[in-house]
Symmetry: C2
């Protein structure tokens, strides 16, 4: 199995990416890695981590890199030799089984959609994030690949999410639709139509999931459009940061409590592991014809290493083949043009 890693993607690239790659090479002997980036920048780091003659590492030069603030689609069009584009091309040409990037999410979506194309029957790709809840974890799709959705897209996301949850061992995943009330008549035009479609599919559809129950995992897979998904995900990160800020402030108000604040910090660290994306390594972009894992921009080496592991698992479980089959079974595959 060969995984292409975008060495230039992420806030602290290429350093943390190469450190994560080194960890992955050591831990996962079944995975070969193709590191794609500007050789002048990555070669010294490759030597630093003692990887210059590693038998399972190949380096591929990319003249360009996509910056975090580049506009996504135009960046992909303008930067034809970017590391992200080359990674997608390697998968498209069969020279790699998957791509991992912690770079610009929009650019990763655009590059893979343009170069690798979509799976047969798929009309839009969706980002499947793993979210924490008080009762374990759940799959949240679409976390931001596709902002203007039709009901069919949500139905396809449900299938992709179902297969992804199965790949993680959930036997018959419960699928919920993110909406504003429990009853089928509650929602906006999009979700009301999607509700009907999901109800008619041979999946374990449990109906609407309200925002107020999101973090209690009443479903294994929660489906929404990418606009709502991105905002829920990002505002949740923002709130968690704010709550930690308020908590520290409350502790500091009282001088006696200040000492406890230090101890509380230890509890916070454990908490971080409950909720942290690092453990899950990144979110697969499902629906593209190839495997693509998108890491958080602020990925640590550990997150990169885990993203490589997750990519390997998705290839091994043949998630894409299962998605294609299941879309047809559920009657929501579109005819190819």
């Amino acid at each position: 199995m060969r995984i292409a890693v975008d060495a230039m993607g992420g806030d602290k690239a290429p350093d943390v990416v190469i450190e994560g790659t080194a960890e992955a090479l050591e831990l996962y002997p079944h995975i070969d890695i193709v590191l794609v980036g500007h050789l002048q920048k990555i070669n010294p780091l490759v030597r630093n981590y003692g990887l210059q003659n590693h038998p399972r590492l190949t380096l591929v030069h990319a003249e360009q890199a996509i910056a975090m603030d580049d506009p996504s689609i135009s960046a992909i069009r303008a930067k034809k030799h970017s590391s992200m584009t080359l990674c997608a091309e390697l998968v498209h040409k069969g020279e790699a089984d998957a791509v991992v990037s912690a770079g610009h999410t929009g650019a990763a979506v655009a590059a893979t959609t343009f170069r690798m194309k979509l799976l047969p029957g798929v009309e839009r790709a969706g980002i499947a994030t793993i979210m924490p809840s008080t009762k374990g974890h759940f799959v949240f799709i679409d976390a931001g690949a596709n902002v203007d959705c039709k009901p069919l897209h949500l139905a396809q996301f449900a299938v992709m999410g179902e297969i992804f949850a199965r790949s993680m061992g959930v036997h018959r995943p419960k699928i919920g639709l993110l909406s504003i009330g429990e009853e089928d008549v509650k929602g906006n035009d999009l979700t009301k139509e999607a509700f009907k479609m999901l109800s008619s599919m041979p999946i374990n559809f449990i109906g609407n999931v309200e925002g107020k129950l999101l973090y209690e995992r009443i479903a294994d897979v929660v489906v929404c459009d990418g606009f709502v998904g991105n905002i829920v995900l990002k505002s949740s990160e923002s709130l968690a940061k704010a709550l930690s800020f308020w908590m520290k402030k409350a502790f500091k108000k009282n001088p006696v409590r200040q000492a406890w604040a230090i101890l509380a910090t230890n509890a916070f660290k454990e908490l971080k592991e409950v909720a942290d994306y690092e453990e899950y390594g990144g979110a697969p972009l499902l629906g593209v014809n190839g495997v693509c894992i998108i890491g958080h921009g602020s990925s640590s080496p550990k997150a990169i290493k885990n993203a490589i592991r997750v990519a390997g698992e998705i290839v091994k479980f043949r998630v894409n083949e299962h998605i294609t089959e299941r879309l047809a079974e559920c009657g929501v595959a579109v005819k190819q043009q």
Copy 2:
């Protein structure tokens, strides 16, 4: 000033509503209250709180009450004698200046929209919630009144939010549009059109506000459609609950920490006040022809008391007159049919 209070609205109604009313009567001598509910149920409580002969309290009998799980619009149609409907009628007939209800949000929106109608120039009403941030508070509109929005509705919400922020002393409120990226080209079809409209209005529009910065108050007013607004608000409540759960669990892991957990609870209580809706008493439904404050279903007496205070402030500041004028100034008033 007379405020109609829906005695039957809320999870713990009528008890907490009457307790909150008693507090408001004592604290706000300029406010008269009309308590609307089933007299058989409210009379004993009114006596309990020593309000039976209160010179500034009037009781109005309502044969019906809307349950929290009634479907909103049909409930309002079916229950013409509900306390919520009668409150809205009192305002419509000029017998009260405002209505306060901690009941079913959808029913409150439906009852006030049907009975009180909308303000001249307004096409949809929006719920304006006050949200906490690490740098104070901001107005978040629409928190769930109107799920399928046109760009014009978001433009009108911006004006309503601006006037509401002004009523709380913000001189020239910064208005942001909740979206998925900072640039004007980022967003869905709705927000991209709304962005253009907001840019052309004589307001202090600062552009898109991303989810990741929501709780850092880069704007005084954040505008979104009611579907997104409801989900962001409710999923934030859900996450705050989950974080508190994880925190307690992390504390309990270590027996020494257990003692500290008790102390941490005190810090949590203070935190609750930073973030708590109780202090703000409820969210005004803006755009209806009359003042309506919607409280949280789980309102405490303190929240009810504060909702009554906020209703009084909105009446006093003549928020509705300002909204009508400002919609015209901004060129986003619709012609009445």
